[in-house]
Amino acid sequence: MTYNPENAPEKPLGYVVGGSLKDSLSVRLTVPPQEVKEGSFVVIESGDWRFYGTVTDLQLGSTNPRFADEQSENRLPPQVARLLHGQTLFTNLQVLPALMQEVGPDPASPEYDHWRSQHPDDSGLQPQPVKTVPAHHALVRGARAEDVANIFGEPSPRNFVIGYTREQNLPIPLDLEKFVQRSSGIFGATGTGKSFLTRLLLAGLIEYNKAATLVFDMHNEYAYDDIASDTKEVVPGLKTRFPGRVRVVGLGAGASIRGQSPDFTLTLAESDILPEDIEMLTRELNLRETTPATLEALWQSFGRNWFSEFKKMRNGAMEEDPETGKKVPAADSVAFWANHAGVNVMAAEGLHQKLTRLFNKPYIVPNPPQDSLAEIIKLLVDKDQNKHVILSFGDHETDLDYLLVTNLITRRIREEWEKRTNAYRSHPQNNPEPRPLVVVIEEAHKLLNREMAAQTAFAAIAREMRKYYVTLLIVDQRPSQIYDEVMSQLGTRVSAWLGDEADISAVLSGLAGRDALRGMLARLQPKEEALLLGWGVSLPIVVRSRRYDLRFFEELRGAQPPSRSADDAIRELFG
């Protein structure tokens, strides 16, 4: 066993007694069970190899069921009963191994020189996914600071500390570089600190600044200071803390976000709206099956101006035919156009009526004073400006607004990034590498549910836009409602407590050892605890999430490694 000489060997937690690679390892606990918790990060020392894993379960066992059934402490003196229980009653840990690493023999041992000559450098000695099992009776210990640093990396702007281990309070960083390379998700039932986790990560991403972020802030939470609903403390806004880097965009002219005016407002030109944007709203607007045909005819008749032309038409307007004296549809009526375009009049009039909700949206105007969509994209594209955009929906908080606007912007983004990436790939010397972009979607199930996923640009982003430098950060409370094809593409998943079995399964979909992880997710603390999974973290681990407060920003700015404070200690002691 290799111990760092600077650290006196601490008491092992137990030793391996069985298990398999497929399920998990059984470890006989030799310390009181209260010293180990589900989700703990443990290290198994097995000869020249070290295994890293997560505690997924604790089980009470006995060598003979009668020892467990009968309360022998009533029959025997306490010291004898203690000796009996020490050997016949035990606790087994289930440890899900995730990584293994060759560490070689003890540097002080005679075998070390021979081993070192075979491994002249440390290449090939990095932790790798577990492919075998440790030996019987291999000792298991809690992870030390150096193990955490070895596996998760030292805290740095890239390795953003998202929380701390529950037992030893060791910082657990998330590799932001990897985090933005694939789409990722933040999940948790309502009130479990999901939006705090999102804020934390966004602050980390903005500070690290390797990727642009575009936040669709449906509930106007992220830009400006807010008051926490439970503690009533001020929650710092991202715009407040990063005034130079964050641009807040309000939806609609004259929008005000929490009493503050945004940096600029977003108004959509009527010509920006395409028939497919309307088709996507089928469920929201309760559109009929005839809609696609009508939209197609509108597009044929008017091209990009279809929306404004259709809006101008009068629904049901009649006029008297001067020749026959009969009532006929007026020339500017929907029916008149429908008759000419060969579309069912009822269908066209129905659609017109249903689109009234959109015609009345103040943020859709015929000729916006500026192309604010292009402005947003410019901010996100430009590497020199290093800007991040929070789109606050202001008063337009309905699902209709959210679906329409996010999809419209995302479609434009997709086109832009595809164009830039293709240009970069064809002529790397003339064209800069596109700036990676993370699109943050709240209430993601509204856009990425089974019905919508095929129609919105988001599913395509989740599936294939990784190649085009665009990834999603999905924030949602009902992951089970999200299309499973999208869920399975998510690299990193950060999940706070989830109660629903289907939601838990959805978060774990496509991951190894999900049966073992299921319990961990169900038994997270309802607040301030999160399970980190997937691509951006080396092994699944439960963390106590970092506080998102002013001190967090001081640490972020000072780049000081976050340390345990008196506040932490008080919080741990008294909850």
Partner: protein, 202 residues
């Protein structure tokens, strides 16, 4: 007690146990569970535990018991001069050869009329403290013995000696070993442990 006391001579023996004969008047020395040693001619010491003390009757006693009263003289005469010895059963638990203690059975049994001595505390401590309680095997194997009582008596006596000589953890260690050896046999373990529970070291 300053020196080992002779408690009797060997009546019969096998490789695993023996029976000692002693006079009824000498019976105040050997105790149930007590440790004894039998020196052999080549210097080997065989160690054993007393598991049985048996007093046989003879024809005279049968008559005396049925008589109306037994005078003090007759009683003393019978105790000191009776010709049937008290039989003491000893189970072998190990031996010492050239100063090395082994918890295996002795290479050969002692011979008739070999002398048997009680063990002094240093001998008990040296024997029971050496190795990892391998001698318990011999007791646990002999199923016709009152194992629980024998173990409890042994632990009480040896435990007091260890306690007095600075190793108070011995009782705990031997109990733990017994639990390990017997944990697959619930009934036997519980009877042993409840007997040990009655041990009083104070």
């Amino acid at each position: 007690m300053t020196a080992s006391l002779q408690i009797g001579r060997l009546l019969r023996s096998t490789t695993s146990d023996c029976v000692i004969g002693c006079r009824a008047s000498e019976l105040n020395v050997p105790v149930f569970g007590g440790m004894v040693r039998i020196p052999l001619a080549d210097g080997t010491q065989i160690y054993g535990l007393i598991h049985n003390i048996q007093i046989e009757d003879d024809g005279l006693i049968r008559q005396l018991i049925t008589s109306d009263n037994v005078s003090e003289d007759v009683l003393l005469d019978n105790r000191n001069n009776r010709n049937v010895p008290v039989e003491i059963g000893v189970i072998f638990v190990g031996y010492a050869q050239n100063g090395r203690i082994s918890h295996l059975l002795p290479p050969r049994p002692p011979l008739s009329l070999d002398e048997i001595f009680t063990c002094m505390p240093p001998e008990v401590i040296a024997f029971t403290g050496s190795g990892r309680f391998g001698y318990l095997r011999h007791i646990l194997r002999a199923e016709d013995l009152p194992q629980a009582e024998l173990l409890a008596a042994h632990i009480q006596q040896a435990g007091q000696m260890h306690h007095a000589h600075g190793s108070p953890g011995w009782v705990e260690a031997v109990t733990r070993e017994l639990v390990t050896l017997l944990r697959d046999d619930y009934d036997r373990l519980m009877s042993v442990l409840s007997a040990i529970g009655d041990v009083n070291l104070s």
